[in-house]
């Protein structure tokens, strides 16, 4: 047989490739393929290139940036996934590949494995390191919240804040917390709150759910946003037993959304107790300060120095008393002596008393109203008066 007889059927490489391209791309649209990832490469441009394989075959895959940004985990070699997309032919290489539109992990086991791998990788990078954790403000003025505003988790947070510390202001950036785009939404809201300024703490959280429901909190974009934020972040995702990547990166992990608000706020009961303790303790303290000063004053006034002053005064007092006593004594004695002398003199005078002499019978001779007690004083030319005890007579 001559293979080259019908020359009009000769096709160029491009022609046949384009024919194949048309046939394949038309026939394999919207297909789903399960397989294991190998040779995964995230190109600098943002596009992903990898091979999907099973035990007996393999097929090249591409996933463009616009599509892969919606993938909720980081694909890694060995991971079993289900992709959906179209077959496409790349003429320059003559190769066919799957243009992957979406991808999901096959089963919970794969998600769990992706979780473990991401956790390991971020941990190796230091995103969970304790020294990178920021301290949570004890008395916050504003708390930012990233959660769904219509969720029970949010209502729980509000009631905790109301009960514990109503002085705080809650600023909510309502987010989708599950489904497509949830991780980007959470990350963006964290950034928005972080750049607000004046927000002391950011809480990110949602109520309980399946591993898939909580998945947004396991995505790398959320982890990196938490790590880069300036504001301290508390995560409160799911129930106590649920651990997410966000929990590991956050500055503080709360077991539940309710607990996250409890960790973010002080208890007003405690503050009120502290204040009433102040009234009690401080007045006791002030009283004891006053008592101490009183004791000190008492001590000083009883000291030898103070007492010696009193003693000096007392000594002077005594000396003075002594003098007074002596003066008084001396004066009395003198007075008594004078009194005695006076009595004696008085008696003498008394004995010379004229009246007494007249009474006894003596008489008094007077001339010109003068007593003539001596003969030489007598004038015979003048009248004479004689005074008797009972009467005075005149002799001419």
């Amino acid at each position: 047989m001559d293979l080259f007889t019908q020359e009009e059927n000769i096709l160029s490489v491009s022609e046949i490739t384009n024919s194949v391209k048309r046939v394949l791309e038309k026939s394999f649209k919207g297909i789903k393929i399960v397989g294991e990832i190998s040779n995964f490469k995230a190109h600098f441009s943002g596009h992903w290139y990898f091979t999907l394989k099973d035990a007996n075959a393999q097929i090249s895959c591409t996933m463009w940036k616009g599509n892969n940004s919606r993938v909720r985990f980081t694909p890694e070699d060995g991971m079993k996934i289900i992709v959906s997309g179209n077959i496409s032919v790349y003429p320059p290489r003559g190769s066919y590949q799957i243009d992957v539109r979406s991808m999901k992990a096959e089963g919970v086991g794969e998600l769990q494995a992706a979780f473990e791998r991401l956790k390991q990788r971020l941990s190796d990078e230091g995103l969970f390191d304790v020294e990178n954790k920021k301290a949570i403000t004890r008395l916050p003025k504003k708390i930012g919240i990233v959660t769904a505003i219509d969720s029970a988790a949010f209502r729980d947070m509000v009631s905790v804040a109301e009960r514990r510390f109503p002085l705080v202001e809650l600023i909510v950036a309502s987010s989708h917390v599950q489904g497509d785009g949830a991780a980007e939404n959470i990350a963006r809201n964290i950034k928005v709150l972080d750049s607000q300024g004046g927000i002391d703490t950011i809480i990110i959280g949602r109520g309980g759910g399946s591993l898939e429901d909580l998945w947004a909190f396991n995505e790398e974009i959320v982890a990196r946003t938490i790590f880069d934020a300036e504001t301290p972040i508390i995560s409160g995702v799911g129930h106590e037993i649920d651990f997410t990547i966000a929990d590991f990166v956050a500055d503080l992990r709360a077991p539940t959304p309710t607990a996250s608000m409890e960790l973010a706020t002080p208890n007003q009961e405690e503050i009120l107790n502290y204040i009433s303790d102040f009234f009690e303790n401080s007045s006791t303290n002030v009283n004891s300060i006053i008592t101490n000063f009183k004791d000190e004053i008492f001590g000083i006034t009883n000291s030898y120095g103070f007492k010696s002053h009193d003693m000096i005064i007392n000594n002077y007092m005594q000396t003075l008393d002594n003098y007074l006593f002596r003066i008084e004594n001396g004066t009395n004695q003198k007075f008594q002596k004078s009194k005695n002398e006076l009595n004696l003199l008085n008696n003498i005078v008394e004995s010379f008393n004229v009246e007494k002499a007249l009474e006894r019978g003596f008489a008094l001779v007077k001339q010109n109203n003068k007593t003539i007690s001596r003969a030489k004083d007598y004038d015979s030319n003048k009248k004479i008066k004689i005074k008797f005890y009972d009467k005075e007579i005149e002799i001419t």
Partner: protein
């Protein structure tokens, strides 16, 4: 000092400081009474602020819908 109104946090901090000073022994009588008066005033203010507080909630609408390209 005639300082501007203290924030709740500043008031609590000052209260703590005053308690510690009053517990210590180096405060004089005049100072201790002044501190006590200041503390009582602050404590009353804090008490009032806290007991009259009402939770404020504000929803932040992120107008800037940045598209991820």
């Amino acid at each position: 000092m005639a300082k501007k109104h203290k924030s709740f946090e500043e008031s609590l901090l000052r209260l703590k400081e005053i308690s510690e000073k009053l517990e210590g022994s180096e405060v004089g009588l005049d100072d201790s009474i002044k501190l006590y008066e200041e503390g009582v005033k602050l404590a009353k203010e804090c008490y009032t602020t806290l007991s009259e507080a009402e939770l404020k909630i504000k929803e932040l609408k992120s107008e800037l819908e940045i598209d991820i390209d």
